[in-house]
């Protein structure tokens, strides 16, 4: 899972620490960045902001009360007043608590006021299951940012990308929904040091080149997809695995090039299937490359049910390596 760029100077740190590092380095360079959210000063629920308050003080690393709508709305107001807020929303599910503030305000403020001005704001949504966090704390809500225009949407799958996309988001003149993946929080990876490790927003990346079919995935499903590709390789099926990294903008050129080469495609994500991100991806691919396709674009995705709190039941709701393998076979042989 090597990144494309050369990594002269790297460090093995966790995914969350990598996000934190990007924040620290950017905050040292830019006074207008501040961090706010529930518990961010007291360590951060997921450790991403650990140590931030020690270095920057509680004026720039601010615990809020339990008020997600306030937190997101505050981000919009601070951003139009020229600050660069970074808000940890706690859980992706809470996008539905702050929907007006995120999708009507942050996303549309400039458009509806006819303003072409920069507006930096990073909204962190930790997403996905984490062994029984239950139906209101486990959702993958990134599709909301795809449907409602005006925001950029990223989902890093490695520690290096967690840092690189955060570095990019903090310099991006548009609000970014930054989805961090709960199950990856403590996963280590080689992460470039320095504040100039940018993973450009809107660029996907080929994690495994292949020729039989294109597997499009991101976030928590990159690793299982690579495992499935490994298994299928033994059966003579050579999957190309693409990590989308950004959902808005989405890297259609890279995706369509690959599909036109392999003539087959599948999408794998943890988010629920119906009207999820894969629906758009499948619909778009068949629209654009129908006559290149030898079989339908398949989707392997979360079951269309709320996530039970029971760890074992929860596991049944999200794609397994076996399901990805089965879909890969169906795609190439069926």
């Amino acid at each position: 899972m090597a990144d494309t760029q050369t990594m002269a100077d790297t460090q093995s740190i966790t995914y969350n620490a990598a996000m934190g590092q990007a924040l620290v380095e950017a905050m040292r360079e830019d006074d207008s960045i501040f961090v706010l959210g529930q518990g961010v000063a007291t360590g951060g629920w997921f450790g991403a902001e650990k140590g931030l308050a020690d270095e920057f003080g509680t004026d720039r690393v601010i615990d809020s009360n339990i008020s997600e709508a306030f937190e997101a709305g505050l981000a919009a107001g601070a951003a139009i007043a020229g600050m660069k807020p970074v808000i940890n929303m706690g859980f992706g599910d809470f996008a539905l608590i702050a929907g007006d503030e995120i999708f009507h305000k942050l996303a549309k403020w400039r458009y509806m006021h006819g303003l072409n001005v920069p507006m930096t704001a990073v909204i962190i949504f930790p997403i996905g299951t984490m062994n029984g966090a239950g139906p209101e704390h486990s959702s993958c809500t990134e599709v909301l940012g795809m449907h409602f225009p005006g925001l950029k949407v990223v989902v890093p799958s490695t520690a290096a990308d967690a840092k690189g996309l955060m570095c990019a988001a903090l310099r991006e003149p548009n609000p970014v929904l930054f989805h961090s993946v709960n199950t990856l929080s403590f996963q280590r990876g080689d992460v470039p040091t320095g504040s100039d490790h940018f993973v450009p927003i809107g660029k996907a990346c080929v994690r495994r080149p292949g020729s039989s079919a294109t597997l499009l995935t991101y976030g928590s499903m990159v690793e299982p997809s690579l495992q499935a590709a490994g298994q299928l390789a033994g059966e003579g099926i050579d999957l190309e695995v693409i990590d989308l990294r950004s959902l808005v903008p989405i890297d259609w050129p890279l995706i369509l090039d690959s599909v036109r080469r392999t003539n087959r495609a599948m999408v794998v994500h943890e988010a629920m299937k119906t009207a999820g991100p894969g629906a758009e991806i499948a619909a778009h691919i068949q629209e654009q490359a129908f006559f290149d396709l030898e079989s339908p674009v398949l989707r392997v995705a979360g079951k269309d049910v709320p996530l039970p709190q029971h760890g074992a039941l929860e596991a049944l709701c999200i794609p397994s390596v076996a399901e990805i393998v089965a879909a890969g076979r169906q795609l190439c042989l069926g």
Partner: protein
Amino acid sequence: MNDQHPGKNPGGPAPDSDLLKRMYQRMALTRAIEQCMAQHVRNNRFSGWWHPGEGQEAAGIGASAAMRRDDYLFYQGRGCSWAIGKGMAPGPILGDLLGKPSGSTGGKGGGVPHWVDYAIGVMGEGATLGSVYPLAAGAALAAKQRGTDQVALANFGDGTAARGTFHETLVHAAAWKLPLIYFCENNEWLVGTPLKQVSPTENIADYAAGYHIPGVVVDGQDAQAVYTATAEAIERARAGEGPTLIEAKVFRKHGHYAGDPQHYRAPDYLDAYRDPLALLAARLDEDEASALWAQAEAEVASAYQAAMAEDDPAPDTIFKDLYYG
């Protein structure tokens, strides 16, 4: 304090007569736009809704007169007193209302106004009511973090005080002593529902007690009283003492939107109406007041003609300003 009247000089810093004149001039502009829009909506196809603010001009004009150019304003969409009060000219306002490129939003705005001028702190509107409380807090926090002494003001109606964001924002603004002014225009109606049917309190200012911040009720028909109350609150905020909740008792002279038949309102409701312009004019030289009024009418008439003469915005406007660049 609801019994304040022209004769009674409110406390606080005494407004000088230049201030009274400036306020009157801006109220006249606002009123002239009201009259212009009333006629325009009657005679033309109009997109969106125009929410007439006639009768409520004193609140926005009085309060914004106490604001500095660099203070942040978030207004609600009845009338246009706040934008005028903060210093916008009739041209860009009418441009938006008529959907013309000269509008401050390039014609994307309209009946539910989204006019804007960052240079003078007119930050815009959220047409989902109550959505701007936290935005105003964000601007206030920005000022605090930068160490400027700017304040932010969130204007809202009595109905909009029921939104959850009202509470979430006050909890934080009060705890953190943000330089934030909550300014309610209580006209006792939310569309066709009387406030008293859906509110446990007649005075929105009563909520202030729970947050341990000052709650002030002021005669919203009296620009001078509004000015004084707001100036005090702003002083407090600049001094780092945190938010104030000001409630101006105002009067909605017309329907909720232009064209509203108002079946829900008693036929004699206008008996209680006091015209805020007349109220202020009584404190000015009569000739001066008429001159200001004539000037305002002329200015608005020519801005209206200019806007009407414009073409509609170019079709590709719909793809502009979504992302920066």
